[in-house]
């Protein structure tokens, strides 16, 4: 029963163990849930939002009466197909469920317990636990941000944030919006903002596009990606949007809100080139530097990760999407940023692989359908790697923030304070910087500043993203009362031998 608010879910939904719990109702999770359900498994589909679709297919709430939600999207037919299959299925959709931990079940380690708080912002009175024999993590990604002077001024929003607010709330952050940062999302955001009526004076991309040309074979195998680029490019041309590559917004001007930005040329390492920047008047800036896989539920259980070509961490997965922890699968951006089509293919594979495991029929994964899906996946993964490399943050960005620029927005920690911790107190990693300055210790648990703090902690000379030991035992803030009310079986059943995965973490503050 898709799109039903969580308060309509009956207690039965939390009783019996499911064959599969899917976390995340975006492209990957939807594909995995319906595929597994169509093979006869009982499936619970948990998602923080009130509606299915994830970030890519985010859309207005029904009360907004959008007759053409597809006008805000690409590839809507793929979503319509998944939604139709979900409606026809027995999948139990648990909307408004914010999963804060997955722990091993109490029945001899054979299953999993998925813990969630409920309500629009997780502040509901009803914490819940869903039990399942297997889990598919399809938790998507969040945006990577790099700091520069003025980026905390009201009117500066995430590029993905501007897109999300427009898709769901039908609103714009301003009337004249500069789009900046790096990555393919910028073109999509600029073209949709312009189509929806915003004036977009410029798209400012720190990388060039030549990075793609270094792997012509991979491009030729993924013609759909070129078509997407052409669609966005055509929209930008139609609305007179200027694309400035090898450039970055290096300062935001304004007292109470954004009034203008300075755009500077950067070299191939993203280091600003000397000379006057160009000032562009605007009342909003939508900025982002690529996406980062959201993996904390998996890393909390010990799943292995790999370094992606743009310095992020993604889950290590086998040919059938299983993580290094048996019984735990992942699909979509959690295995590396690759987009909606790749996420669907991976969700399909994972759904079949889970069914094969639950039924004890490995042959299910050896038919032509799986081989075809795997070929598609491998082709798109190759493109994703090219894309990540083409937009990998250059080490020179560390020169953007001056000493007064806030890096950690939650704890208001400046670049100067972090540099002092590195040069005067000998901190050389993000954790030490955090302990000395509180950078990354606030509400967002370092999701916003994590990449930047890690680079700055590595000190001068290396701005490439160094290894980060990001671990968030609680994936979302949880009231202490919820932790206190856990039954001992739930709280202590982590049989991995690692420290109790549900223990309270000083970095996760209660927000209500």
């Amino acid at each position: 029963m898709p799109d039903s608010p969580s308060d309509e879910v009956t207690d039965d939904a939390y009783e019996a163990p499911y064959d599969l719990a899917v976390i995340g109702a975006g492209c990957a999770g939807l594909a995995g849930a319906v595929t597994a359900s169509e093979l006869g498994l009982s499936v619970a589909l948990l998602d923080a939002s009130g509606q299915i679709g994830g970030q890519f297919y985010r859309r207005p709430a029904p009360a907004l009466g959008a007759k053409r939600p597809e006008a805000l999207h690409h590839d809507w037919s793929a979503f319509a197909d998944l939604r139709g299959r979900l409606e026809a299925s027995e999948v139990v959709h648990l909307a408004g469920h914010h999963v804060w931990a997955v722990t091993r079940g109490s029945e001899g380690g054979a299953g999993w317990a998925v813990h969630a708080v409920t309500g629009p912002d997780g502040g509901g009175d009803r914490p819940v636990r869903v039990r399942a024999r297997t889990v598919l993590l399809a938790t998507g990604a969040y945006e990577r941000h790099l700091p520069f002077p003025g980026w905390t001024l009201p009117g500066v929003v995430g590029a993905g944030g501007a897109q999300a607010m427009m898709k769901s709330g039908l609103v714009l952050p301003g009337s004249r919006v500069v789009v900046a940062g790096s990555g393919p999302l910028l073109l999509a955001v600029a073209s949709s903002l312009a189509t929806a009526g915003a004036h977009v004076p410029a798209v400012v991309e720190a990388s060039g596009y030549l990075g793609y040309a270094r792997r012509p074979g991979v491009l030729a195998a993924n013609p759909q990606k070129l078509v997407e680029a052409l669609v966005h490019g055509a929209a930008l041309l139609r609305y007179g949007v200027r694309l400035r590559t090898r450039s970055a917004v290096t300062e935001v001007h304004g007292s109470d809100r954004v009034e203008a930005v300075t755009v500077s040329r950067v070299d191939r390492d993203w280091r600003p080139v000397r000379g006057a920047g160009r000032r562009i008047a605007c009342d909003a800036l939508a900025v982002g530097h690529g996406l980062v896989p959201q993996t904390e539920l998996a890393t909390g259980l010990g799943c292995a990760t790999r370094r992606t070509p743009d310095g992020a961490y993604a889950l290590v997965l086998d040919g059938l999407q299983e993580t290094s922890v048996p019984g735990l699968w992942a699909a979509g951006e959690t295995g590396g940023i690759g987009g909606a089509q790749l996420a669907r293919a991976e969700g399909d594979i994972a759904g079949i692989a889970v069914a094969a495991r639950v039924y004890g029929q490995p042959a299910l994964t050896r038919d032509g359908r799986v081989r075809k899906l795997q070929r598609r996946r491998d082709r798109m993964r190759a493109f994703a790697d090219v894309m990540a490399a083409a937009h990998a943050p250059g080490p020179g960005w560390v020169r953007w923030p001056d000493d007064t620029t806030e890096v950690c927005r939650c704890e208001e920690v400046t670049a100067g304070a972090i540099r002092e911790a590195v040069t005067d107190y000998g901190a050389h990693d993000a954790r030490t910087v955090k302990l000395l300055t509180r950078a990354g210790m606030g509400w967002c648990q370092g999701r916003v500043c994590g990449a930047a703090v890690a680079c700055l902690a590595a000190g001068p000379g290396d701005g490439s993203v160094p290894p980060s030991a990001e671990r968030r035992p609680l994936a979302v803030p949880v009231p202490l009362g919820v932790l206190g009310a856990l039954e001992p079986d739930d709280a202590g059943a982590d049989s991995t031998g690692r420290p109790d995965a549900t223990g309270p973490d000083p970095g996760a503050e209660q927000t209500s």
Binding site: A61, A63, V157, G158, G169, P173, R409, R447
Partner: protein
Amino acid sequence: MARDRTPAELAGAAPEAAFEITFDGRALPALPGQSVAAALWSAGIVAWRTTRRGGRARGAFCGIGQCYDCLVVINDRPNRRACLVPARPGDTITTQEGDGHAGLAV
């Protein structure tokens, strides 16, 4: 050219009737189905929190509930994420100063 177009027109939105909320005492219209942050953006408001140390203005940033920059006081309850919480008729939205607990019995 569609310079005067809005996202609502693009999506063919025919929303149910608007209702009223207040922001720091000022009456604002909100549409059913919009988040508190979307209703505030509709009114041209992009800041509704001041930071705990520097007292600097903040509003929605990530738009998807990840960054907690959009924390606001809704009906006397602080630290609600404006980008996630739907606006309801009669909601009293107040700028959150610092941790939002000053003057509250909590």
